[in-house]
Symmetry: C2
Subunit: 470 residues, 2 copies
């Protein structure tokens, strides 16, 4: 690939800063589109007339900022979702030591969306796939059940009843390629029955809101606070549905209080509205037993959504919706609304096999221990090295919220952290400033270094004139 970069002298003091600037601009302008492959460092260095180390460092820096994706053996590519939030790093060029790892991932991966990928049960998954490939009848290698294979629907109905108090039957379970694929299906069904307005948590996962809008419905932001979404705000909004994360609000980490759970269900019943319960990481709770699902309180009003993305791995692309029986009937009546991307039959049967053998439960028990240790290590390191932040929402799930002073520029902190090899996300909640820090992929031994780097980032932004020693 021939990449023409202009090392503009105004972009920085050093060749490395200029190379970073030119690369960053090429990505942000779209000249280097997402997924495109970058030249080898040696080739680009030769072309620019700089040493290879300059290019290696520039690539590593841009990878830490989220612009590039460096995969082992796969070369360096532009990330699929280059992070625009990382831009301020450019306004305040980093003086930190160059990121000298191999660039295959951020040095400290505190992204809240990932489970511990090092805990994926490869052997158990391979065993299940092997068993299925040895026993599946030829006929089932054709087109499968568009709503999911019966074995998996039965396994999910059983497991969700047992672990989450979900009240359902296999016929009401629809298998999808993850929550992201579940959403368009659900909104389409609701639109077909006349829905127009859908309440979404504010702050919340951006894809909930955008999927509502893409389906031709109106997303209506509903404020959340430390008890989660506030049902008293719903009264006059003429909503047909509301999407909520009751077990562990994303991104604040709040748990919907019992009073509010009851009030939310009562509102939906009065109004005839549907509640989407996004139960994305409820399997992980550290202080006590997980709270039962909202669905268990009102199976006729609540659509329950879940996936393997936080329990096993996002790469499996396996998720589900549990629908009230009235919506199941409407799904069957409307061929067009059948799920896109019904997962491969073999994978579905493999997951059913793992559920039936108790392997999923065993894996979750191992992962809970792992997460508790990693969470404790992160919280200990924060207490020691960053006591000025207030920690919230760490009793469940895979992330904690680190509250900053209300007027702190959280996006700038995130950018500063990225330039120090720490990947995490801003809270983006009105009236608050904070960071969303996942600990699933932060080994205990790495926690102090990650928090020290984060302390530097916070210090750069919150007290910009103070020079904090490393």
């Amino acid at each position: 690939m021939d990449l023409h970069l202009d090392l503009d002298a105004s972009a920085g003091r050093t060749l490395r800063a200029r190379a970073e600037h030119a690369l960053r601009e090429a990505v942000r302008s779209g000249r280097l589109p997402p997924g495109s492959r970058l030249p080898a460092t040696r080739a680009l260095a030769q072309q620019l007339g700089v040493s290879r180390g300059v290019v290696v460092e520039a690539y590593a820096q841009l990878a830490a900022e989220g612009y590039l994706d460096t995969r082992r053996g796969g070369g360096t590519r532009v990330a699929d979702h280059p992070v625009p939030a990382a831009a301020p790093a450019e306004a305040a060029p980093s003086d930190a030591a160059p990121d000298d790892d191999d660039g295959s991932a951020p040095r400290h991966d505190l992204r809240p969306s990932l489970p511990a990928v090092d805990g994926f049960p490869r052997q158990a998954w391979l065993g299940a796939i092997t068993r299925i490939l040895r026993t599946i009848p030829d006929q089932r290698l054709g087109y499968g059940d568009r709503n999911g294979e019966p074995e998996l629907r039965a396994a999910l109905a059983g497991s969700l009843a047992r672990t989450r108090g979900v009240r359902t039957t296999p016929e009401e379970v629809i298998v999808t390629g993850g929550l992201r694929d579940s959403l368009p299906l659900l909104w389409r069904l609701l639109k077909a029955r006349g829905a127009k307005r859908v309440g979404v948590e504010e702050p919340g996962w951006w894809r909930i809101s955008s999927s509502v809008a893409e389906a031709g419905l109106t997303p209506v932001p509903i404020p959340t606070d430390d008890e989660g979404l506030d049902p008293s705000k719903l009264a006059s909004l003429k909503l047909d549905a509301v999407a909520v994360t009751p077990a562990h609000q994303f991104p604040t980490g709040a748990v919907l209080s019992p009073t509010r759970r009851a009030a939310l269900v009562a509102w939906a019943r009065r109004r005839g509205a549907i509640i989407l319960e996004d139960d994305y990481d409820a399997e992980f709770r550290y202080d006590r037993q997980p709270i039962g699902s909202l669905q268990g309180l009102a199976p006729d009003l609540v659509v329950y959504g879940g996936s393997c993305s936080k329990t096993l791995a996002p790469a499996l692309r396996l998720g589900w919706l549990v629908l009230p029986s009235s919506l199941v009937a409407e799904l069957h009546a409307d061929d067009a609304s059948s799920p896109a991307g019904t997962p491969p039959t073999i994978d579905q049967l493999a997951l059913a096999d793992l559920f039936d053998r108790g392997e999923v439960d065993r894996h979750l028990r191992r992962q809970r221990i792992r997460y508790r240790k990693r969470r404790d290590a992160l919280l200990d390191a924060i207490a020691e090295h960053l006591p000025q932040v207030e920690v919230r929402g760490a009793a469940a799930g895979l992330f904690a919220v680190l509250l900053l002073p209300p007027d702190a520029d959280e996006e700038a902190v995130v950018a500063q952290a990225a330039s120090r090899g720490v990947a995490l996300e801003p809270l983006r909640a009105a009236g608050r400033s904070g960071l969303v820090a996942g600990y699933a992929n932060l080994p205990e031994a790495g926690a102090p270094a990650a928090v020290k780097a984060l302390r530097q980032a916070v210090a750069q932004v919150v007290r910009p004139t103070t020079d904090v020693p490393t």
Copy 2:
């Protein structure tokens, strides 16, 4: 499950005919919804006060007609898409011998949509999955590239160039869960650039037309004849795109002639229109080398769509689109149009591995031999036992068209065939009458019996007063 059936004495002479009628009515009325589970034969027999054999035979008959789905170990369920075309079987109750197999599939499966499921390379697939699970870096168990993993995109770009003359780069290949998932993605992209009207082949695969309409565009039927779609019909239709199956038209089996290929591309270039080339089964051609793709003539105008559904197995849910570079840019600009149901990373890497090792080519060579034998056996049996039908479109693909006299009721023949354990499809082409008969799952030894049963079905409809000896 408690199923209330009324064995109406007017529905047939025998208890079995009455049980069949009652079950068929329960499915057609929706009282038994798609996917619902039927009682065990013993339980239903007890409830109805008939012998178990009556219920077993009724289930087998309804399964042969496509209303029920009997899976090994999974019990009997209502099929996902109960075949309404099979209804006439009821108007003319079958005198054929009861279907005494285990009901897990039609006795003679001539459905044109399936590859030879008994040829799926289980061992090669398991080997690839095993290699991937042993080597995939942890980081790649997170969220993958929403447009497909780089290895698979590279493997597809190379293979399609070599075997189909497709001119592309890995960046222009988008991995999907099969053509069915590719369609909404493509129509959404075209709609975003202002498209309104899409030409579709008439007759053609119903899902092309319905997906166009579901995307909010207008499907415009374009007549096809023995040379495929006729581009001279496009001139005044104000189309923004046209979907075509040039290598082997579905369902007529016609091959788009070189003159028409050139005319179609010239029309698209004049009009600035996009052509979707649905290359669903072009890997299989028996009389000479496969014809190159239309895409190779005009990579800037043609979107090329394919999948593993006819080469490996539909159950894998793996397909792809090759986009002109202008559409790739628009795809990247529109997050909402990213594919739903990006397939699992492990499966994508396994397929790339099989391509890279030449296993896909080896498998296709084996399958071609298998298909040629099965096709020849079917054509021989037709020449011997059913010489009155004219065979078309058997030089390529996985099915042949059997033309009936123009006024023959093809739907009635299909229903009669179903009642004799032969599953195939009506042609549904204006001004013609015919059957679409797949041979992928018809072992050579079974061809004579299948064609004899089909002869009975044809005889019932085409000469209803003649008694044809078995």
